[in-house]
């Protein structure tokens, strides 16, 4: 395990631990699903690391992880936005991902079309959520809203990860640089998810 992977795993574990300790406090809100999601993240990451260290193909693990993560986020935003358009967007994502699954190498490469479409739809939902929050009176206490911090993490991560996935295609691709960038983005994502989960609920 490289140092970058270790740091990444540490942050993912930290977010999971926070969701575990705050499970009772968050049991009635929309954030209750994050405990299961972060458990899934830990398991998938551990599984991927095992495959990497045993020299087996591992990209499919990330493909499954990405697809299910997007679907989780779509479901989570649907619970906030309560708009059927979110479900249609999720369906659109599945519609785009399925041909990508069959047309590209699912086992040994990242399904970029699926990832890009998922990320763009997710960023749309993040903006949609922020706009709806801005219109609500709750915006006065935005820094106390769990979903605000989680959405900020998702926003930062996907703004960063989209161009990075394009950079992978460049001939001067440097695994160390990109690995570092991905680590920073993951730290921000899981750090902000953890911050969101410990954020006190406004009374």
């Amino acid at each position: 395990m490289t140092i970058l992977t270790t740091i990444l795993y540490f942050w993912q574990s930290l977010a999971f631990m926070v969701s575990l300790f705050k499970r009772k406090a968050n049991s009635e809100g929309h954030q209750k699903y994050f405990f299961y999601f972060l458990s899934f993240v830990i398991i998938m990451e551990a599984f991927a690391q095992i495959l990497i260290h045993t020299g087996q193909a591992y990209y499919y693990v990330y493909n499954i992880f990405n697809t299910l993560s997007f679907l989780f986020y779509f479901f989570w935003y649907y619970s906030y936005l309560k708009n059927k358009l979110v479900l249609w967007l999720a369906l659109l994502f599945v519609g785009i991902s399925l041909p990508d699954l069959f047309l590209n190498d699912f086992i040994s490469s990242i399904l970029l079309i699926s990832f890009f479409s998922g990320a763009i739809i997710l960023l749309t939902l993040v903006v949609w959520y922020f706009v709806s929050l801005l219109k609500a009176e709750e915006a006065i206490y935005f820094y106390k809203i769990q979903a605000f911090w989680i959405s900020t993490g998702i926003l930062i991560y996907h703004i960063g990860v989209l161009p990075i996935l394009i950079l992978i295609k460049l001939p001067e691709y440097n695994q160390m640089h990109l690995g570092f960038a991905m680590m920073v983005l993951n730290i921000l994502l899981y750090g902000l998810i953890a911050l969101g989960l410990v954020c006190p609920k406004r009374k």
Binding site: I140, P163, H177, L178
Partner: protein, 265 residues
């Protein structure tokens, strides 16, 4: 055409800048909206507070009526008991006119100085009848004052004059005089003094302690509460002073001074 290679980390720096800009933008938008909502909320609360004060003021104005009505009906009862039909008819007619004015002005937030003087004249005329000329009164108005153009909170002087009559002159042996003066001060401030040569507030308070039925406490309390409300409404700057004349002069009586300034004007 030669191609220039851009180092990968330059791209990464751009990505980092994009993220920082996005986060700054996000927080800026939320902070601006937060301030906007806080201001709107404060404005709504202020409006609500204002309405609350106005409704409480109306309620307090309404509380003044029973004291006056009680005393007036007692006076009419007194004439009827003495079988003085003409006097009681005359009294009733004046009271009816006064009550009409009273209820009309009670509904208003402000009334002109001319209306206030009219009301006081009517009220004192009735009290003069009740006191059977034991009561004299004079109203002095500064020539510089435009009575139709100066407005003051409605029904604010009547309870003060009522106190002067019922608690100053009423307990005095012999004739008594109530003097009301209106004058203009600096900064558009109206100065009003209500002076009586009765027994004085200190003695009246002493009597009040001995007589629990006396309504001076509630009447004065209502007045104080109303003055406080007017001050808190931020529409009026009102200074209210009451002193026993015996403390500063050799004569007896009570001197009430009011300085009223309309802050909205």
């Amino acid at each position: 055409m030669p191609q220039t290679k851009i180092d990968l980390y330059i791209y990464l720096v751009f990505i980092a800048i994009a993220i920082v800009v996005a986060v700054i933008l996000l927080f800026a938008v939320f902070l601006i909206q937060k301030n906007k909502l806080v201001n709107e909320k404060l404005k709504t609360q202020l409006e609500f507070q204002k309405k609350l004060y106005q409704s409480e003021l109306s309620a307090l104005r309404g509380q003044l009526n029973p004291h006056f009505i009680h005393n007036s009906i007692n006076a009419i009862q007194y004439y009827i008991q003495r079988n003085e039909v003409n006097l009681s008819e005359n009294y009733l007619s004046k009271l009816s006119k006064l009550l009409r004015l009273f209820f009309e002005y009670s509904r208003k937030q402000t009334i002109s100085l001319a209306d206030e003087i009219n009301l006081l004249n009517n009220y004192l005329e009735i009290e003069k009848m009740r006191f059977e000329d034991k009561l004299n009164y004079t109203i002095h108005i500064d020539k510089s004052l435009d009575e139709e153009d100066i407005f003051l909170p409605s029904m604010i002087l009547q309870p003060i004059v009522e106190n002067a009559v019922n608690h100053g002159i009423f307990h005095k042996k012999g004739n008594g005089t109530v003097t009301i003066r209106f004058s203009e001060q600096k900064n558009n401030t109206l100065a009003i003094t209500v002076e009586d040569d009765g027994i004085g507030i200190d003695q009246a308070l002493q009597l009040q302690k001995n007589n629990r039925k006396d309504n001076r406490v509630s009447s004065s309390q209502v007045l104080k509460e109303r003055l406080l409300m007017l001050k808190e409404s931020k529409q009026w700057d009102i200074e209210y002073n009451i002193i026993d004349k015996a403390e500063i002069t050799s004569s007896t009586g009570t001197l009430v001074t009011l300085f009223i300034k309309n802050l909205d004007a």
